[in-house]
């Protein structure tokens, strides 16, 4: 604490000693002005730093809240699909939450959007910088809502989390694609990966249900044949 106070005592003394003679009045005023400015700059700097910190915090909080909210929606929708279970044998109503209801038109990406997406792909596939990629994907999703590539970004978020073995997060990401964008071309892959994630989480029955859903809902997809292999391996 003493070391903080000492220079405060030195500094004005040194500056004052330079002001002498006829210019001393002007110098004194200048010095006073500088001091005032310094005080104000300090104060402003403090405010900027504190606001930046607050913004960082808010960003983090909103992301956490988003994940939390998503988790609750996830729980709700799985409870809902459990309610539907008795009718699971019925191909029309039994599609659960992963149903491909109807085909939607997705917003096509702008050139800039495509470029950013490709940068993320490089980060994931080539550089394997997963942590950086996760942040990038979230930013991408925040920035470009409800586009064709937004769904891809969610899917890749799931992939990266899966690679990082953050299974709960992977589950959420895949579920978003599977439930919210059931008609997207990535949906079949997402449901399949959701099954894989659930299997790794030890929820084998749930995993099998997803695999069956892939085969039922997306019979011609690559994911369907992967799901068949998965089920065969499990039973065989």
């Amino acid at each position: 604490m003493a070391s903080m106070l000492l220079p405060l005592a030195f500094w004005p003394a040194a500056a004052w000693s330079q002001s002498s003679g006829s210019g001393s009045q002007a110098n004194a005023e200048l010095f006073y002005m500088i001091q005032q400015l310094q005080t104000e700059v300090r104060q402003l700097r403090g405010e900027v730093e504190e606001q930046r910190n607050q913004i960082d915090r808010l960003n983090r909080q909103s992301r956490d809240r988003y994940i939390d909210l998503d988790q609750r929606i996830l729980k709700l929708s799985s409870e809902l699909s459990d309610l539907d279970k008795p009718a699971a044998s019925d191909p029309v109503t039994g599609q659960g939450s992963e149903a491909a209801v109807e085909q939607r038109e997705y917003r096509q990406p702008s050139a800039e959007e495509r470029k950013e997406y490709e940068a993320l792909q490089t980060l994931i596939r080539k550089d394997k910088k997963f942590n950086e990629a996760i942040n990038g994907l979230y930013d991408f999703i925040d920035k470009y809502e409800e586009g064709d590539l937004t769904v891809n970004a969610y899917y890749w978020l799931g992939e990266v989390y899966l690679a990082e073995n953050q299974l709960e997060q992977a589950k959420q990401a895949f579920t978003i694609v599977a439930t919210r964008y059931g008609d997207h071309r990535k949906a079949s892959d997402a449901v399949y990966k959701l099954g894989v994630t659930l299997d790794r989480l030890g929820e084998t029955a749930e995993a099998a249900r997803r695999m069956e859903a892939v085969i039922r809902n997306y019979p011609d997809s690559n994911a369907a044949s992967l799901a068949k292999t998965f089920l065969d391996d499990k039973t065989g």
């Binding site: 604490m1 070391s3 220079p7 500094w11 960082d56």
Partner: protein
Amino acid sequence: MRQGKHTVGHQFPLLITVILSLLAAPVSSDELLIRITKGADSAIPISVVPFTESGQMPAGEKISTIVRNDLQMSGEFDPLAPEEMLSLPSKGSEVYFRDWRLLGQRYVLVGQVSSSGDTLQARYELYDVSQEKRLAGATASAPKSAARSLAHHISDRVYKAITGVQGAFSTKLAYVTLERSGNKSVYRLQVSDVDGKRARVRLESDEPILSPAWSPDAKKLAYVSFETGKPAVYVHELASGQRQRVADFQGLNSAPAWSDDGRSLLMTLSKDGNAEIYRMNLANGDLKRLTNHWSIDTEPTYDHTGKGFFFTSDRSGGPQIYHKSSDNAEPRRITFGSRYNARPRPDATGDFVYYVHQRDRSFHIARTDLESGEETVLTRTESDESPSVSPNGRMLIYATKQGEDSVLTVIAADGGAAYSLPASSGDVREPAWSPIVR
């Protein structure tokens, strides 16, 4: 003042002889006493059974007593008093696990100490009561004069076997005591064991001694001494008592901190008119200026990477902790919780930084999680200062007021258990925890 300045300069060689004679004295009378003020709620129950002894034992505390006190001081253990033990086994075959389970013990340490000639030998075994398994066991020996070192070594091994974390009981503490009698003040730089025992005076002066800092090999201390009438930074080799005045520039010379290779020091100098942080190459005295701001930049300390450093700056009004990840990086502000945060001390892993934190006009020790930015106030005492983290990051020592006097307090680094190390006389302050030397 000016007069004194010149004469003290000539007294310098004399001072060294004084120190050397002090070194020759075996142990100072100013030993610190441990007193437990608060136990942790989650402390692990352990029984350190009194070791059986054969041969001529050195005077002083028994090995097993020192081990028991060490473990208790960590705040992570709750040792059973020997009077409450149902049996006093000294080897594994005599341990009846049922008895220890009955006493609610998780671990039992048994052992034997024997002496032959000048050597003291301890054979010890640590058992897990619920698993009925031997966790560790070894034979260690030391000269009789180093019985306490032997005990601390066993404490380290036991601590490591149970927690998985390197023990820090064999490390040292440096601190400054102040004794006032009438108009005269005597400052003493002392080095003791972590339990406050075997304290030895390394420097005595009528003027303040501040900011002791351990070199990474724990062989040297750097500190600020006002012995010439103004602050200067010294490097003091403990074994030989040799000292070197490394920084004595005009104005402020303060807050030395070692680099992890021990070849340079960070310090605060005001030789260019304003308090800034510099790095000094100790081999040739070359200086590199690392901060450049018209506000006060001070109290530098290297982070766990050894490349970046934390420091205190009042560039945003009150003192706050900043971090520079390299010499040329932009400083990033770390603390936001209040108007006053100073004297940063990071742990060795880069998880937390500890510092003095002002809240409601009292000073506490707080830490910030560097990953999440979360701040936790760790102490409930007031007027707390000078935090220093144990090298394993599990304990924290700081100075606080007790009545008129300043005392040292050890707490678990997460704010759990607390222990005071009051000096038998006068003030104690500016504690510095030595590194673990492998």
